[in-house]
Amino acid sequence: MSEGTYRPEAAQAALADVEAVGGRVRRHTRGYGVFVLALAAFFPLVLLFCGFAPLSGAVLGAVSGVAGALVGIGSGLAATRIRAFPRRYGPRYLLAFLTSAALYAVVLILGGYLFEDVAAWWIGGAVATALPLTVLGVSVLRSGGARS
């Protein structure tokens, strides 16, 4: 190693490089943030459709199944196109997705049995369902432009 590396100025320059290079790579995680936000919007749209459309339980179940398949396909496609994944994206995504999915199921099932004609239930449920993934997506987009 060169003696110059032991100088405080060289160390400071190296640390500045960490910030600069890290920031350039983190910008590429924004695609992931956009994908998560799109997913966050998808859940409530399907829920509102299920809540306000006069459909039978079997049809609603089928709609949910198709929606789930679309999410799976979309996730697979997104994974091939996203160029950089944020730190700990796996556990964070899993937590947000499962929370949204659980809220979706609860709102759908309870709504179907108890609050079928209560608009506030479906609208409030849609908002709640969107929250976990929205928080994750916004967090990723903000850190994509933030310093480490």
């Binding site: 190693m1 590396t5 032991y6 100088r7 405080p8 100025e9 060289a10 160390a11 400071q12 190296a14 640390l15 490089d17 960490v18 290079v21 890290g22 920031g23 350039r24 790579v25 983190r26 590429h28 995680t29 091939t80 196109r81 160029r83 950089a84 994944f85 944020p86 730190r87 700990r88 994206y89 796996g90 480490s148």
Partner: protein, 116 residues
């Protein structure tokens, strides 16, 4: 292969240069490691553009880091197009964190009032 590779004794009270990692210390490899430390995984081309080197230069540095157990290379295809993704291993993240701490300690020695 995953043991810390320090340039010196690194004994308590010694100069922080003893805690600098030999593998990461080279400027380009340091930049590559810094790029990967910021994310979980990144495409080869993203790292190349961020570090501003050529494909062959990055490949050489990645090979050294992979040999040291610091970087994992994942190759796949998107349709017919090959894609290579890079990520730091646990050992790589630990080594990078230690290296950065040593750099911060060295940088701190230049602050007014710091011991030489």
């Amino acid at each position: 292969m995953t043991a810390a590779r320090s340039g010196g004794a690194g004994a308590p009270g010694g100069h922080p240069r003893g805690r600098l990692d030999d593998v990461i210390h080279a400027p380009v490899r340091f930049s590559v490691t810094a790029a990967l430390a910021a994310v979980d995984e990144a495409e080869f081309k993203v790292v190349r553009d961020a570090v501003e080197i050529t494909d062959s230069a990055l490949s050489k540095q990645v090979a050294v880091l992979e040999e040291a157990g610091y970087v994992k290379v994942r190759k796949g295809f998107v349709g017919k197009r090959p894609r290579t993704h890079l990520s730091l291993t646990g050992a790589g993240r630990d080594a990078f964190a230690r290296h950065v701490r040593a750099l911060r300690d060295i940088a701190a020695t230049g602050l007014p009032g710091s011991p030489p």
